[in-house]
Every structure is written in C-alpha cells, then in structure tokens.
C-alpha cells in the first residue's frame, strides 16, 4: 500500500481503465500484491533508452512521457501517459533494451510489475493477468510494425536519408 493511496484508491484507478473494466476488486488483488510502488519527482528518469529491463508499469498519479530517439538528434515525444494507464509494458515479455527514455513530467506514482511475476500470474490463471496480456499483445504487434515502417521509410526514400546522413556528417566534422 502506498503512503498516499489506499488499496481502494489503487483499485479504483486500475479498474477505471478499459483494460480491466468489468473485473471485480478481488480479481486485481494478486496482481497488486505482485507489484512494487514507486514515486517520481518532475524530471525523474523512470528508465533510460538502451538499458535492459524485464518490467512494466502502471501509472497511478501524475504524467509521464516516453521519448524515442529513433533518428539521432531528433528526439521525438512518442506519447504522454496519464494516471490509470500502463506503460513500458513490452518489458513484461522479455528482458530487452528499452527503445525509449521515460521521464516523469510531474510528481507521479507508479506500480512496477516484473515479467516473471506476470508469468507466474498467468500460470495461476489470474483474470487481471489475462487482461493485461491481451493488451500487451495488441500494443506490441503495432510497436513491431512501427519499427519495421521506420526502417522501411529510411530505405524507400533514400534521398531523404542521404540528406540526413550528410547533415549528421557535417555536424560531426564541425565538432
């Protein structure tokens, strides 16, 4: 249980999300028990790009931003997550390097769930784990498609990529 949020508060936040809609409070208990609580101040880095991780998060309060830097020098804010939403959930599948940096935009609290814990919940046929896994599947297939599109776009318009490479080359030479 967190310092400022009661168990009922946590359940209210999570059950409000469409991922868990229709579930009962009792359906969420095992998953909540498996999570650890974390607080973040504005500007705190929750996780960094290229660091390995096998965990996902539920945002309880505040807001966080996922920043991807697919093209060097062009930091792009992927998405802002608000309270009640999971983020960084591809980490629940396997240990991979994070493809983006996650930063707290304001004071935030989040629950962290390890991939091994989700696996154990699935083995016990936990209802909340099934719902979360469905969401992971939908989200992740689209994330893979987006990565493929990014690479495809670099090659299908080689002129644009060439211009960018020359720009980076000039920057490196000036430095």
């Amino acid at each position: 249980m967190t310092d400022t949020l009661s168990q009922d508060d946590l359940l209210s936040i999570l059950l409000h999300n469409r991922i868990f809609s229709g579930l009962l409070p009792g359906d969420m208990h095992q998953m909540l028990e498996a999570c650890t609580h974390h607080s973040f101040a504005p500007g705190d880095i929750i996780y960094s790009r290229k660091t390995p991780s096998n965990a996902g998060f539920f945002l309880l309060t505040g807001r966080v931003e996922l920043q991807s830097q697919v093209i060097p020098g062009q930091t792009r804010a992927n998405q802002i997550y608000t309270a009640g939403n999971p983020f960084g959930i591809e980490g629940l599948i396997k240990t991979w390097d994070r493809p983006e940096t996650c930063v707290a935009i304001e004071s935030s609290q989040a629950l962290r769930l390890e991939g091994t814990a989700l696996s154990a919940l699935l083995d016990s046929a936990d209802a909340a784990a099934f719902r979360l896994s469905d969401h992971i599947m939908e989200h992740f297939v689209e994330a893979v498609r987006e990565a493929n599109r990014t690479l495809h776009d670099l090659y299908v318009r080689p002129d644009r990529t060439l211009a960018l490479l020359r720009e980076l080359q000039a920057t490196q030479e000036n430095n």
């Binding site: 591809e90 599948i93 396997k94 670099l154 090659y155 990529t161 490479l165 980076l168």
Partner: protein, 210 residues
C-alpha cells in the same frame, strides 16, 4: 533421429487426419504408441512450445491436423492469407519468393522445422510460398484455434502467444539496432545511400519510358 528410430507411419494417410492421441492413454498397439510418443517428442522440441508442460503440449497436439504432401505440392502461396503454422514431422519444403518473373528459393526446411508461426497472432499475407520438395508430412495448427483457446482463457494459449511476442520483439530489437547502426557512422553510409538514391532515380526514369 535415424531411420530405424523414426516411428513407422501407417500404410494410408489422409490429409486432415487428427493425430491419434487415444493410444497414448489406452496404451494400445506398440505401433500407435510409438507414433504418438514420436509426435509428442517432436512438439516438445519446438521452441514455440518450450514453456508448455506435458499436458499443455497434448492440448496443442489435439488442435492440429496432419497433412501429407507429395513433391511439388504447395502448402501455401505467397500473398495468401496466413491462417496457420506448420510443423514438419518428416520431409522437406522449399521457401520461395517472387522476384520479377521468377520464383527465388530462399531456404529449405526439413524434419522438426516450424513455418508460419506468426500466423497464430498476426493477420498478414504470407511472405513466401512453401512447397514440398519430397513427400512431406506436417502438423497444421490454425490461428483461429489458438484464438479460441485464448478466449477461453487457456494458459496454454497465452504461453504460446508470449513466445511469439518474444520472437517479434527480438526481430524489433534487430530492426532498431539496424537503424542505430545506420546513423552511428554517417560518413560510412553516405556512399551507400548515394548509390540507393541513384538506383531509385534510374528506376523511376525507366518506368517513365514507353
């Protein structure tokens, strides 16, 4: 597995036969039991099913149909809707893609290989044509059956799905690494993309000619 060790097949095989799993429970003829144990061994060797226990493997096997193809028969064609995966019990298949006016063979796969597993979670056209090179016996697992299991909240289905997501994620990591490599040393890539740009320009010019 040597020819002597491989379970002998019955004299007649029909496409669409369900694996005879009854013999595993009833302990009937040595021939049937040996065949089913061979099938179970094959399924346990498939990486996609590596996190399943024995009962869960049996659950998957019950969903499969057995199909046999003679040399030259096509299991599935490039651009067809991908709706099933294949596990090759015995035989050999070729994987080919259309390039212009010709089919280009990109791989050959044999006993124990798995083809088309992504069809279980992703709806997309087949990326290649799969054709039997010799008499080939396969287990076919339909995506809709895994989806039906998932809707029933089967742990087996979710374990399979997560293994597939791992494979997808490993590929994504490689794609992202490739993008990183591209920009890690821009000077080295300038010449490469200059060539790509010229090739594209020439291709566009050719396309405009009557």
């Amino acid at each position: 597995m040597s020819e002597q060790e491989k379970p002998k097949l019955p004299s007649t095989i029909a496409i669409g036969d369900k694996p005879n799993l009854g013999s595993l429970k009833s302990g009937s003829s040595d021939l049937g039991q040996s065949q089913d144990e061979g099938a179970a061994r094959l399924f346990r060797s498939v990486s996609l099913f590596s996190t399943l226990d024995a009962a869960q493997v049996m659950e998957v096997m019950r969903l499969c149909t057995i199909e046999t193809y003679t040399a030259g028969q096509v299991l599935c064609k490039e651009h067809d809707a991908a709706d099933a995966m294949y596990i090759i019990e015995r035989g050999e298949v070729s994987i080919s893609r259309r390039s212009g006016d010709e089919d280009v063979r990109v791989a050959y796969l044999g006993d124990g290989a798995v083809v088309g597993e992504m069809a279980l979670i992703v709806s997309s056209p087949r990326s290649a044509t799969i054709e039997a090179v010799s008499e080939t016996r396969v287990y076919r697992l339909e995506g809709r059956d895994i989806e039906a299991l998932r809707r029933q909240r089967s742990v087996t289905a979710y374990k399979i799905i997560f293994k597939l997501l791992e494979t997808l994620g490993d590929r994504r990591q490689k794609v992202l690494a490739r993008v990183d490599d591209l920009f890690a040393n821009p000077s080295a890539q300038v010449e490469v993309f200059l060539r790509h740009t010229r090739d594209l320009a020439e291709s566009l010019e050719r396309a405009q000619q009557p």
